[in-house]
């Protein structure tokens, strides 16, 4: 069992939505990322998604694309990402960390070796954007054998017929992509999202996190009323790039508070 289950159980017992914060590993360097990871956990992030940079992030908008280029220009590798996780674990034992990226860096590392190294470093799972259920057997098997979660993505285009196939082998939580589009695009209508979250939750029996296009505290609070967790990525990455670690953490704190308080009123 990963750290995800107790985290979501705890949130559920308090009737609070979780706040999931995304940051790109190595943007612009490893030191900045480590400081940001620790700060995010302290600012109220319940789960952290740590981006693994890739040259060709075909599902990401301009903000994450540029962050990936900065990270790669700074020399970040999958090995470097795992080292960041290991260092984060020295100070933060309980906050789950999910790696998020594209298949090829993991394929080049070797799926089995990557899963083993992730478990050793203290990661909890992986979101792999370009591994749909049809292609996941080998990677999911490797993660399973090290007790890691393979977090699945569901989208507005995922039909009721297809949904069971998408979520059957999922673990940890399901990431619902709130809109057709890339990361950082406009987010979908709240009513549609509420409906979709209910469907995904029922089909999977897992908590559902909603991401893509959540930028403000108001929006986070709206999503928090209907989903089990709210994911914010591009807005934090933008703040980090434009105004530095302190600004990014301040934004994350505001978003975390709004998410946590949303169901209280």
């Amino acid at each position: 069992m990963t750290r995800l289950t107790p985290t979501f159980d705890h949130l559920s017992s308090q009737n609070r939505a979780g706040f999931v914060a995304y940051v790109m590993a190595g943007d612009p360097d490893a030191g900045t990322t480590l400081e940001t990871l620790r700060g995010l956990a302290d600012a109220g992030a319940d789960v952290i998604e740590l981006g693994v940079p890739f040259t060709d992030p075909m599902a990401d908008g301009p903000t994450i694309q540029r962050a990936a280029i900065r990270a790669l220009d700074g020399g970040m590798t999958l090995k470097g990402v795992l080292e960041l996780v290991r260092q984060f674990r020295q100070t933060h034992a309980d906050t789950p960390i999910i790696l998020m990226g594209y298949a090829n860096p993991f394929h080049a590392f070797g799926y089995a070796q990557a899963a083993k190294a992730m478990a050793e470093a203290g990661a909890d799972g992986l979101i792999c954007v370009d591994i749909p259920p049809e292609e996941d057997a080998e990677l999911r098997g490797a993660l399973d054998s090290h007790g890691l979660s393979f977090v699945r993505l569901a989208a507005p285009t995922t039909s009721d017929d297809r949904l069971p196939q998408v979520v059957t082998q999922a673990s940890g939580f399901v990431y619902y992509v709130s809109t057709t589009g890339v990361t950082g695009a406009k987010s979908g209508q709240t009513a549609d999202i509420a409906d979709a979250v209910a469907r995904v939750r029922q089909a999977s029996g897992l908590p559902v996190a909603v991401g893509f296009g959540v930028k403000t505290a108001d929006r986070a609070a709206e999503i928090a009323k209907v989903a089990d967790a709210v994911v914010v990525g591009s807005a934090i990455v933008d703040a980090l790039d434009q105004d530095g670690v302190e600004a990014a953490l301040s934004l994350a704190g505001t978003l975390a508070d709004a998410t946590h308080a949303a169901r209280g009123g």
Partner: protein
């Protein structure tokens, strides 16, 4: 009758050619990919669809393209007979339009209202814009900003044809970034959009579908060889970027075990330098743009840029069916450098009165070796997949001539 082998039976139902191919796309696109697969499966057996494809292939594209005996190059190389399949005579000057025609006809059948495409040098963009114009569908083409600057005539052609050209500045602004951006557009407007991929790569069913539309090249050439010389060629040769003209030539010969298939990759400044685009000869298997195949990549799995004097060959991947045929040993993959392509570009122009595109000029460099290997009794079929008008500026530049 030759004994059938299994090579032409791929891909399997999961879109796999052995371990290659597949459908590595974001979940948002997956339902679209499955719908495309269903639609293609239905229409490829639909007599009306096939008849329309054949009609427009004849009257709009100009098929069948001739088979031509390259007599003076045969003399020059002093060995096997060299025959060209003249796909450079197609409308828009290359083989690309065969596939665009098929995909745009399919888009219409599927009720899609908007066509998108990626392009490197602009050939596939022009071909897509051409067919989209003919069928009255709005067309948007994604092209790396660097290429937009370098290929102004093709940008203007696309605009004349009514297409909108998006200069892609994300990533490094090259062909692979244009493909990323087209995928991002598709993920944003999945319902109304048909993405016309220009080569035998991408998620299933694209590698199979593009191959099928391009196989008209090999089917015609096979029949023409039998008609003209009463036998099949000893070797069929084609250049390879993503590999669509080569796959179109090879596929109808896959079960003719006497016919050697030779693909020629772009070796750029040499395979021993970082500046080449030879995915099979200088890359390793990985996952990009929806398929598993050989890729140019570093040890961390980051994709590296291909280089070739030919903008049509500098893609860092290759179609998964080529990866399969390579590993199975059914096809051989060689390479030719920028310098060899330049030499052949000039030689073919002078001796045959055909200015080849730089892409098939690569193939011709290996035809020279093969002609000697086979000797005077041998026969070589090469796909002349594009004409060289588009390349005169870059060739002049490379030769130090100011225009």
């Amino acid at each position: 009758m030759t004994q059938p082998n299994a090579f032409s039976q791929f891909p399997d139902l999961a879109g796999r050619f052995g371990e290659f191919g597949g459908r590595y796309v974001a979940e948002t696109l997956m339902p679209n990919i499955l719908a495309l697969e269903d639609a293609y499966d239905r229409y490829k057996r639909d007599a009306e669809f096939v008849a329309e494809f054949d009609l427009f292939s004849r009257d709009f594209v100009g098929r069948p393209s001739p088979l031509y005996f390259a007599e003076r190059l045969t003399e020059e190389f002093g060995g096997a007979q060299i025959w060209f399949k003249r796909d450079e005579l197609n409308h828009t000057g290359a083989h690309k339009i065969n596939n665009c025609l098929g995909q745009v006809l399919l888009a219409k059948r599927m009720g899609k209202t908007r066509i998108i495409a990626e392009t490197g040098a602009g050939q596939h963009g022009v071909a897509t814009a051409t067919v989209a114009a003919r069928f009255g569908l709005p067309c948007e083409v994604f092209m790396g900003a660097t290429d937009v600057e370098r290929q102004k005539p093709n940008v203007f052609r696309m605009k004349l044809l009514g297409a909108e050209v998006h200069a892609v500045t994300s990533g490094r602004g090259t062909l692979k970034d244009a493909m990323n951006e087209a995928l991002r557009d598709w993920v944003t407007y999945p319902d109304e959009t048909f993405y016309v991929i220009g080569t035998v790569a991408g998620p299933h069913p694209y590698p199979m579908m593009v191959r099928d539309f391009q196989s008209v090249i090999g089917r015609e050439a096979r029949a023409q060889m039998l008609d003209r010389i009463g036998r099949l060629p000893d070797v069929a040769v084609a250049c390879i970027g993503g590999g669509s003209n080569a796959m179109g030539l090879f596929h109808p010969f896959l079960e003719d075990e006497s016919v050697r298939l030779v693909g020629v990759e772009a070796a750029g400044k040499g395979l021993n330098t970082p500046d080449h685009a030879a995915s099979l000869n200088g890359g390793k298997p990985g996952i990009l743009h929806g398929n598993k195949t050989y890729l140019l990549q570093d040890e961390d799995g980051q994709i590296t840029e291909g280089h070739s004097i030919s903008a049509g060959l500098d893609y860092p991947g290759i179609g998964p069916e080529h990866a399969f045929l390579h590993d199975m040993g059914r096809a051989e993959y060689r390479s030719a450098t920028d310098a060899e392509a330049l030499e052949m570009f000039q030689l073919c122009s002078k001796l045959e009165g055909i200015i080849p595109a730089l892409e098939p000029a690569h193939a011709l460099a290996r035809v020279r070796d093969l002609a000697k290997e086979l000797g005077k009794d041998g026969t070589i079929l090469m796909n002349m997949c594009g004409r060289g008008d588009k390349d005169v500026f870059s060739v002049a530049g490379a030769l130090g001539v100011e225009l």
